[in-house]
């Protein structure tokens, strides 16, 4: 099969075109937002948030709301609870995250199990269903993506100060608390947007893996974000095609490609890769 045909053949199907567009959008957006998560150590928070939105998704389905709306409400409630518990008790924040995340996820599964003839498939929520992306989903992803990227561009220098040196943010009278919530809110939005593509269980990989790989080979944040987005798009598109031809679930395939790229960079990155350093140390 020639290369062009390899690329165009799946696009005969409209659902594959929508899946490709969704993969590209999510592949750009997740790693950009994920860069802040990697730098701020928010990986666990992001994972917890993704799981905690399950009850929101199920309730949205029961009430006939759009899935994204329910997910967003649940994400905000979870984020608020985590902050509230860690501030009003002697517990560490990661403990509060653990409690809320597990509890909310259990609530979601319990709710799901009460539905007799539910069409919302647990597997689709957990692992995504990029082939089922509707045109409306695509518009929602696109709209939210523009908002999130717009905020990052507009507040780039403030967010940079907040992530690098929170104390400077306070000294400079930046609205540090509002910026922090904004960052968490953008993580929540991104998780919600990515649900359809990779699902609750794997969205963390989209956020963190490309950003982590990019961090190992870049020296400035804009370069890190750009490379992370490149890795994200490449991984998602490659993953989508592999899943089409090999008949594997698409979300996990995308994540596996991203993980493989991470592994390559971890081992072979110039100067900072494991193999490079070993060779340099030996020679």
């Amino acid at each position: 099969m020639e290369i062009g045909q390899f690329f165009w053949e799946p696009l005969r199907y409209p659902f594959m075109v929508r899946a490709l567009l969704a993969s590209i959008l999510v592949g750009i957006l997740c790693p950009v937002v994920g860069s802040y998560m990697v730098l701020k150590g928010l990986s666990f928070f992001g994972d917890a948030l993704a799981h905690a939105i399950l009850p929101g998704v199920v309730l949205a389905f029961l009430l006939g709301w759009p899935m994204a709306a329910g997910a967003l409400v649940a994400a905000l409630v979870a984020a608020f609870l985590i902050g509230f518990i860690s501030q009003r008790s002697s517990l560490q924040e990661d403990t509060a995250i653990g409690v809320v995340f597990a509890g909310a996820f259990a609530l979601g599964v319990a709710l799901l199990s009460t539905l007799n003839n539910y069409t919302v498939d647990l597997a689709h929520i957990l692992f995504g269903d990029v082939l089922g992306v509707s045109a409306r989903d695509l518009w929602v992803i696109c709209g939210l993506g523009v908002v999130v990227l717009g905020v990052i561009v507009a507040l780039y220098k403030e967010l940079l100060v907040l992530t690098f040196d929170p104390m400077l943010a306070l000294v400079l009278r930046l609205p540090a608390t509002a910026l922090r919530y904004l960052l968490l809110g953008m993580v929540a939005l991104t998780v919600v947007m990515s649900l359809q593509t990779v699902g609750i269980a794997l969205v963390l990989a989209m956020l963190v893996t490309p950003a982590a790989a990019a961090r190992m080979v870049t020296r400035r944040l804009p370069a890190m974000m750009a490379l992370a987005a490149g890795i994200g798009v490449f991984a998602n598109v490659t993953g989508l095609y592999l899943s089409y031809y090999w008949n594997i679930a698409s979300g996990p395939t995308m994540v596996l490609v991203a993980t493989a790229l991470f592994g390559l960079i971890f081992l072979f990155a110039p100067r900072r890769g494991l193999v490079w350093r070993k060779v340099a140390a030996a020679g």
Partner: protein
């Protein structure tokens, strides 16, 4: 000319640069600062010394307006610290994420964020301020380096440049000399005194009583309260040091020199660490000794 002074100071310079009146700060049950009253004039250069937990960081936070005291008030040139972006601060090296993907120029540009205002990107004057500030501290050729590639002294110089780019009129430095070799310490001390001579008020938290006594014209001895404030020979007396460090320290008067022995055997050694922080390369026994100048 220092980069930080291009803009004429907007403050009433006849007022004290820093004025604390009966400032008390509590965290939950613990009192971090108690009834601290302090006045600094423009251009004063003060070493803040005291044992661990003496409230040095809290004092800085209160002056910067980051924590609000429960009692008393803080004034910077007569107005509340919350209104100022002219307070610069230099963090401890250990508090900096050295692997963060920012270059030296990026870090210095952060000092301009307050001047630029929301939704603005750096303009030519901001880039110029960054360049001038980096040249001022002799780090111009390192502008493109990632911060993890710098030595400890170079990193401190970059943060000083950030304060200059910020046009800071009050500079708070948290242990800037800890862990630096002697030549680097000299460079930083030289820069501090140059900055101070241009009317910037400087407070430096220090663990090293020796260095504070030798290098700084004013010492603030702190242990939640102000134990003493003034020139070294008035502050670093046996009585004051005992009062600040309590039973962790023994002061021996021998002829013209007071000898200070820090004792760590019974109580966790916090005072010992205080005194030996900058003398880590010396043998252990010497670490417990810090020679003091005699009170005059």
């Amino acid at each position: 000319m220092l980069a930080g002074l291009k803009k004429s100071s907007p403050h009433d310079l006849t007022l004290p640069a820093v004025a604390l009146e009966g400032v008390t700060v509590r965290y939950e049950q613990t009192v971090a600062l108690e009834q601290v009253t302090l006045r600094l004039r423009r251009g004063d250069c003060v070493a803040v010394v005291g044992p661990n937990g003496a409230g040095k960081s809290t004092l800085f936070h209160a002056i910067a307006g980051v924590v609000r005291p429960q009692e008393g008030e803080v004034r910077i040139y007569g107005s509340q610290p919350g209104r100022h972006i002219c307070v610069g601060y230099v963090p401890q090296r250990k508090g900096v994420d050295l692997l963060f993907p920012v270059t030296v120029a990026d870090v210095v540009m952060m000092g301009r964020v307050g001047q630029m205002g929301f939704l603005r990107w750096p303009a030519r004057r901001d880039r110029e301020a960054v360049r001038v500030a980096l040249d001022e501290v002799g780090m111009g050729e390192y502008a493109g380096r990632q911060i993890g590639e710098l030595s400890g002294g170079q990193l401190q110089r970059v943060f000083l440049a950030r304060a200059l780019a910020q046009e800071a009129e009050l500079l708070l430095m948290d242990e800037p000399l800890t862990g630096l070799d002697l030549p680097s310490q000299e460079v930083i001390l030289g820069l501090i005194s140059r900055i101070q001579q241009h009317g910037v008020t400087v407070l430096v938290a220090s663990h090293d009583l020796n260095q504070a006594g030798e290098q700084f014209p004013l010492i603030l001895l702190l242990n939640r309260r102000v134990i003493a404030f003034g020139p070294p020979e008035q502050v670093l007396t046996a009585a004051n040091l005992l009062s600040a460090y309590g039973s962790h320290i023994h002061v021996v008067q021998s002829g013209t020199e007071a000898l200070l022995l820090a004792d760590s055997c019974c109580s966790g050694g916090s005072a010992l660490q205080q005194l030996s922080a900058s003398t880590a390369t010396q043998p252990v026994m010497q670490e417990t000794l810090a020679e003091m100048r005699p009170p005059r």
